[in-house]
């Protein structure tokens, strides 16, 4: 007559091969195991008896790990008599004390199940937040690529020429410095600017930053008092991210 799984035999085996329950489940799952983590845990602690095929997969996960570690220890498969040999489905434990032990373990498994469910809920909440953040970042990245492409095109077409004689009637720029939204507006020859952006821009000036362009050749020093186009270029460079730039098109810049 087949005998029930000795209590904790599989759990002891898991400890012997130095794997956490999660790690062992992952290996079991990769080999084709069908039990979900809670049921799997119940197999390990003896609260449930796995079907022979499932037990063989679990045992093989243990044996592959043992082989990996260079250990000689191997656990028997069902055809070698492991787990009570080949039998159909799960068996009820016949001895009263065994029944009580199984009942206690089932209660423990249910408690674990609730903990796992709570963990899954938390993980799903974090995953949801992450997906939303990723979506926003992708959206921002796309907006920035579009802005960058438009700016490059204008620069290439000479519309953003920074020759000393060029003029900009007005411009507006919005961006981000650190976590702060910043802005700058140039109208009627006057610059109004967010203090954090101005600080960054002055830093560029003090560092002697220059901007180069090959075609047409242009060399512009960072400035917050020079021509509007040069100031605009300096302020845009001072932003960690540029969100929007606009300027007058009536006059060639």
């Amino acid at each position: 007559m087949p005998h029930p799984e000795p209590p904790h035999e599989l759990e002891d085996a898991r400890r012997d091969v130095a794997l956490s329950q999660d790690e062992l489940w992952m290996r079991y799952f990769a080999l084709g195991g069908a039990a979900m983590p809670t049921e799997f845990e119940a197999y390990l602690v003896g609260a449930l008896s796995p079907a022979p095929a499932e037990r063989d997969i679990l045992v093989h996960a243990l044996n592959e790990r043992s082989m990996e570690l260079g250990l000689a220890r191997r656990w028997p498969y069902s055809e070698d008599g492991g787990g009570g040999g080949r039998r159909e489905g799960m068996e009820l434990l016949s001895h009263p004390s065994a029944y009580e032990t199984a009942r206690d373990r089932a209660a423990a498994a249910r408690a674990n199940s609730m903990r796992l469910a709570a963990r899954i809920d938390r993980a799903q909440a974090v995953a949801g937040t992450t997906r939303r953040r990723a979506w926003l970042l992708r959206l921002q990245a796309k907006a920035l690529r579009d802005q960058g492409a438009a700016l490059r095109q204008r620069f290439d077409e000479g519309l953003l020429s920074t020759a000393p004689t060029s003029e900009v009637r007005w411009f507006s720029l919005d961006g981000v410095v650190g976590d702060e939204a910043v802005w700058a507006r140039w109208t009627h020859g006057h610059l109004r600017c967010h203090p954090a952006l101005m600080t960054q821009a002055r830093l560029l000036v003090e560092l002697g930053t220059t901007f180069e362009h090959d075609d047409p050749p242009a060399h512009v020093d960072a400035t917050v008092t020079g021509t509007p186009a040069a100031v605009m270029l300096t302020l845009a460079s001072a932003c960690d991210r540029v969100l929007a730039v606009d300027y007058s098109r009536e006059v060639r810049l």
Binding site: A30, L31, G32, D56, R74
Partner: protein, 89 residues
């Protein structure tokens, strides 16, 4: 209670990193599971076995050759070659 400035952000980053790692492991496990399923299917068809028997045949070959079941399965699924003797079940 005042929280450390880096506390919640760090916890969330660590949680996200753990989840990403878990997803990567699950992805690899699914690939392995799939290829083992293919190998079992080949053995089932070739030697008229049940799925459980096919798995045990893979296990025996794995022990004989000292190669993981997943690696054996990749070879079998890619080449169709089975160098072990026909199983006696």
């Amino acid at each position: 209670m005042a929280e450390g400035a880096a506390g919640p952000g760090v916890d969330r980053s660590a949680g996200i990193a753990d989840l990403e790692l878990e997803i990567e492991h699950l992805h690899k496990a699914l690939i392995s599971r799939d290829v083992i399923g293919q190998a079992k299917g080949i053995l089932m068809e070739r030697f008229k076995l049940t799925a459980d028997e096919a798995f045990l045949v893979l296990v025996k070959a794995s022990q004989h050759q000292n190669v993981r079941v997943a690696e054996l399965s990749v070879t079998l699924a890619d080449t169709g070659e089975w160098t072990e003797p026909a199983p006696e079940l």
